[in-house]
């Protein structure tokens, strides 16, 4: 093994190294979510605007850009999940429980990261099958011609919309801790900036959550696009 690969292995096998991988991949998702939300909200601007955006996205760099993004996101997801599952298992193994447990100040979100994360993972798999792979033949037909209509029809399904909303609420919880936590992991904060970063993280989490759920709610409950 070269020095570099040995160092990379040691980095991955160390607690701080794995956490840095979690933080960097988490920040990649945070940047992605902001872009993805802005794009999706075009659904409210109108059929034409949304379809143009979808067309532009799929043909950017002769269709290469979207694949580059998919590879980075999928790679990040695998790293994030493998690292967090391994960290969580190690954490459980390190600590026997108290007969009388108490928590001084850790937030509820921070204590359910693995559960909010795994729900989001289940959602991501469902979401990709729903709108990217399009396992439903009706949506697959629509997706080719009219992505806007595909979104509308897709969310007219109550089960899909409700799961979407639940997943977004848990994503909000995940981000409420994760956003500022990533800055601590990367050493990019101090006691002066920590409260501000925590506030920005919570605001970001709420905005992302409300932004995304506005789409299925408008379609399912307010008949948008009907």
């Amino acid at each position: 093994m070269t020095t570099l690969t040995r160092s990379l292995c040691a980095f991955w096998n160390s607690s701080i190294g794995k956490k840095i991988v979690v933080a960097v991949t988490g920040l990649i998702f945070i940047a992605f979510l902001a872009g993805h939300l802005i794009g999706n909200l075009l659904v409210f601007v109108g059929q034409e605007a949304f379809n143009e955006y979808a067309h532009w996205l799929h043909h950017l760099g002769h269709g290469g850009a979207i694949w580059a993004a998919r590879i980075v996101l999928l790679g990040s997801l695998v790293l994030h999940v493998v690292a967090t599952v391994s960290l969580t298992r190690a954490n459980r193994a390190a600590r026997p429980s108290y007969a009388k447990e108490d928590t001084i100040q850790a937030s509820r979100s921070s204590r359910v990261m693995i559960w909010s994360g795994l729900t989001v993972l289940a959602f991501i798999i469902f979401h990709i099958l729903h709108y990217t792979v399009r396992v439903d033949s009706q949506l697959a037909e629509l997706g080719k011609e009219d992505p806007w209509k595909m979104v509308i029809v897709g969310f007219q399904n109550p089960a899909a919309s409700i799961f979407y909303v639940i997943a977004m609420v848990l994503l909000c919880s995940h981000l409420a801790h994760g956003f500022s936590s990533a800055f601590q992991t990367l050493g990019l904060n101090s006691s002066k900036t920590r409260p501000t970063l925590q506030l920005i993280g919570k605001a970001y989490a709420v905005l992302i959550c409300l932004g995304f759920i506005s789409i299925p709610i408008s379609i399912l409950f307010f008949g948008y696009g009907n």
Binding site: L4, S14, G17, N91, A94, R95, Q105, S107
Partner: protein, 250 residues
């Protein structure tokens, strides 16, 4: 005051432990928590029973020897004090108090409330020092140090190594301890030459001892009797990343 104690009793390292209930009668409110246990132990000894074993030494909040998780909180609910500085006036007559050892698999129970914290010593031995001839104390200000750095190094050096951070952490992570011990040297000019070596060695020993991973919940900072800041953890993360990068490329 009269209290009910729920105390962890464990005959030895390999024995099964359990919670035992004891009455604590006629405890003066001015007694410290450890004095309260002394009174209960005198009663137990009179009855020919094994007294409750617990760690202590200075009883003035400086040695880091006392431990105890009281009602689920290391060193009890009062902020910024050790168990030996906790007084019974903070409790109410009739209270039930749960007393358990500092819990972490890297801190195995030796007997009752006494745990083995030598994992901390091994972390220090791996890098928490400076390889120079010490001689006598240098003249003040012979090495100029920024006020900010001096203050931060001093605050980190206030760590007494009691292990409350590990006991409070949901993951039994030792990051607050390790980061404070690394920072108080890494902040100062004397600590610079061996900074990377120190950071890598201390983090690797910490991982090898089986402590958990920090999830940035800051229970450690809240439980710390010396109010060591989690800023030290952010700094250790940064220093570790830089040290690994240099190790990989140089």
């Amino acid at each position: 005051m009269n209290l009910t104690l729920k105390v962890w009793r464990q005959a030895g390292p390999n024995a099964d432990g359990h919670i035992e209930t004891y009455p604590a009668k006629d405890i003066p409110a001015s007694a410290s928590f450890l004095e309260m246990l002394d009174i209960v132990n005198e009663g137990l000894i009179e009855q020919g029973e094994e007294p409750i074993h617990f760690d202590h030494d200075c009883r003035e909040g400086i040695c880091g020897m006392c431990s105890l998780t009281i009602n689920g909180v290391p060193h009890g609910d009062e902020r910024a004090i050790t168990t030996c500085q906790l007084h019974m006036r903070h409790f109410n007559d009739g209270d039930t108090i749960w007393i358990e050892p500092f819990r972490a698999n890297s801190f195995p129970v030796l007997k009752d409330l006494v745990v083995d914290r030598t994992a901390f010593d091994r972390i220090i031995a791996s890098g928490g020092y400076i390889d120079v001839r010490t001689g006598s104390a240098p003249d003040a200000n012979s090495v100029p140090i920024d006020k900010k750095d001096a203050d931060e190094a001093f605050e980190a050096a206030a760590c007494i190594g009691c292990g409350a951070c590990v006991a409070a952490c949901k993951n039994a992570s030792a990051m607050l301890f390790v980061s404070a011990k690394a920072a108080h040297l890494n902040k100062l000019p004397q600590g610079q030459p061996e900074k990377d070596k120190r950071v890598l060695a201390m983090v690797r020993t910490m991982d090898g001892e089986g402590f958990g991973n920090c999830t940035n919940q800051y229970e450690c900072e809240a439980a710390c009797p010396k109010e060591i800041s989690v800023d030290n953890i952010a700094k250790l993360n940064r220093d570790y990343l830089a040290a690994v990068a240099r190790e990989a490329t140089v």
